[in-house]
Symmetry: C2
Subunit: 508 residues, 2 copies
Amino acid sequence: MITGKNYIGNELSADGNVVYTTINPKLNIENSWSCTEATSDEIDRAAELSWKAFKAYRNTSQGDRANYLNAIADEIEALGDELISTYCLESGLPEGRAQGERGRTLFQLRSFAEMLKTDSWKLTSRHEAIPDRTPIPMQDLRKSVIPLGPVAVFGSSNFPLAYSTAGGDTASALAAGCPVIVKSHPMHAGTGELVASAIIAAAKKTNMPNGVFSNLNSKGIEVGVRLVKHPRVKAVGFTGSIKAGRALYDIANARPEPIPMFAEMGSINPVVITQRSLEAKGTQWAETYAGSITLGTGQFCTNPGLILGIASPELDSFASHLANKIVEIDPMCMLHPNIKAAYSNIKSEVTSQDGVQVLTATLDTENNFADQAVAVVDGTRFLANPNLHKEVFGPFSIIAKCENEAQLLEIIEGLDGQLTGTILAEDSDIASLTEIVDELQQRVGRIIFNGVPTGVEVSPSMNHGGPYPASTDSRYTAVGTDSVKRWVRLISYQSFPNELLPSELKNG
Amino acid sequence: MITGKNYIGNELSADGNVVYTTINPKLNIENSWSCTEATSDEIDRAAELSWKAFKAYRNTSQGDRANYLNAIADEIEALGDELISTYCLESGLPEGRAQGERGRTLFQLRSFAEMLKTDSWKLTSRHEAIPDRTPIPMQDLRKSVIPLGPVAVFGSSNFPLAYSTAGGDTASALAAGCPVIVKSHPMHAGTGELVASAIIAAAKKTNMPNGVFSNLNSKGIEVGVRLVKHPRVKAVGFTGSIKAGRALYDIANARPEPIPMFAEMGSINPVVITQRSLEAKGTQWAETYAGSITLGTGQFCTNPGLILGIASPELDSFASHLANKIVEIDPMCMLHPNIKAAYSNIKSEVTSQDGVQVLTATLDTENNFADQAVAVVDGTRFLANPNLHKEVFGPFSIIAKCENEAQLLEIIEGLDGQLTGTILAEDSDIASLTEIVDELQQRVGRIIFNGVPTGVEVSPSMNHGGPYPASTDSRYTAVGTDSVKRWVRLISYQSFPNELLPSELKNG
């Protein structure tokens, strides 16, 4: 049941007077429940409680934390249809997507529980004592990791489950031994509260300390800013826009005690298609990419927003084929009127730049349904105009027709950091792709051969992140069990008695 | 031979007109050579050259980089007596220390060369394709790391070799595949140039690209600031003061493209001594700590600057024994008149706080020789007065006499982040130390049992770093082969042809 209240640890609380509702974007009406924004006092109480909880939670066994994560998954499953229907009402996304995303969320939680079955994720190291070493003896030295402390989590609008309240940031932080305070996303606050209730229920069932998890409603920026500034908060996980992410990142860095903030932000996910690929499979790729560009109404952080090729009749033909295919797809609903408005505005801005030609017929859409579009521009203009490098969050892609490979390489080298880069090529191209691969991998966190960037596997081999502004720290991933490394730090134990060592470093 | 010029890649250059000398702190006179500060144009040339070099250097084999690192070690050894005598003239440190530190520096370089014999440091991961997975096939996914790009290195004053021009930051960055631009330390610019000449000679002998290494003289802050702001610089390694480190850290974070900066900064390295330890070994520990506090004239980042015990006659006796022992040691020279002046000023500030009692007799010292000292204060005053928590860089330590264990724990929890924490205790204490260990490890990067914090092993099990302000990112170490992780980032390859994968990810 949605109460619209905050969870300050295990307690529901709604002391404030800022009340807001979520929107059903398909019908463009308000949903029937309303939420109360957390007050400064509630934020401070959540932070202090998380600190108190940290003292106990950091010393829980991995087995206990695994039980907690598995219980969270079970409790989310037990929310049943209410979760799915709330998700759909708040996001405009179809039921199949809600179910798929729930499955992914449960899998993430259970993957971390599985990871906690052994200590291998801690990358422990031991250097034996050498008492007779000269000039001074080598002391016994052992290294492991410990949790950073309470983590503030900012979920994204576009994945109300998998990258939100109980998403990858929360699951990885809880696995690490860090309490979590979620700044609830205002667009899916009801979904968020339902998931929060499951996390709280699981905490109670598995005897986790009160304060290991809190959920704070927020309408404006105040809750997030206060959380990131709070001295009890020791790290931040964020998924969202460059503008919001950078603002919070600057706040995290400017604290008297700066804290690590991992933000996964925007990306246009460039795709390079070779002449041979255009000749052999241009039509097929056009069809595949019409699907990838419109997947989730284009609201994927890995959405392919830029396609690079060398100008040729085959590239023109690919472009017009893509344009034709993409308008055959039924327009789909975006997440929120604000997101639809931003899509229309930025798309208009990009397509009104000099030399940009829109290839798609104008689609009639109502409410918050998006009119997918494809545009084309020559490589010289693309190189010269940074406005064309902006992310258009939605079902849109621009094709840059390069003069030659040198220009294509120059465009790649000049791109902002990206989550992904893709190469569409034939086997006979491979020998000549070394330079493109070398430059493209410098700009991206994941590089794909003959595929689409949309779809991010939850795997230890996944890197979801990339050079700034794809993320604020390209040395970490937001997806896969390695994402736990964001929330732990190193510690060495020198000449320590066995009884006082953490279990993973004890003898035998 | 010291020319006083900058190395812009392989070329010596001195276009500027800001000329400075280094100081012989023992005699308080200028050394006979002078150095020319790098101009803005020289900094930009070094940065552009490093970027050009990066394109080749990032694709060198690990074997080639290992050869380069080993050649650097050989060339530094070949500098022979000139390096040792220059080091001593510029630092006031004794010859034995110079030789020891050179040995450590060579060991570090060769350790990274050894690390590069295998790919295990890259922590690669592979997830096999599952073509028949439903609803969508699992693509082959492999993960590894690639270098970040050119790294700016700021060496410390107190280790002119091991944490400077060819120190751990430079060695780890070169091992990672990152070109290095050193901002030469003005206090040992001659030593720095000699080491730089060895790095350049090694680069030529092993056919490394011009620009893989540059060395820029600097007298003021301008060179460092311009380097950290430069768009071609992609990461920063720093060892030095909190003030300078934080200023540069803020600049690195405020860039349009923020870059990772690992700064190892100040620390007071708390030591806890139990009542039983005082009773059983108080005299012995007092003697040991008189040595640790004065090691390198107290100019170690791991210098024990705070000793915590519960008030008792045995703690008083320990304190007076320590005071007596420490003044028996001959005063030693500090690194520079500015460092001596800062030591005197901050020591005076700390010892003039309410309730602080200096236990040591005043020592007559001349030039830049330091008058080591020990002071004592009660725990309540220590808790209440942040001025007493300041690092006094030099041979000084303060003993805080706590009322009881609760106050001792409160002091520990309120400390800034530290490189190290030490517990001196008897075996019979161990069962009752759990809480102290739990709180102390939250504040430190390395925790030592019955030893001294001075002395940092170069080992994969070493963590040299800690919570802010001990370092700017407690998730990394500055010492040991794991320090290479600061300079590489993650990348995943999806469905990639074997021919285009990096060697460590290829089949078989």
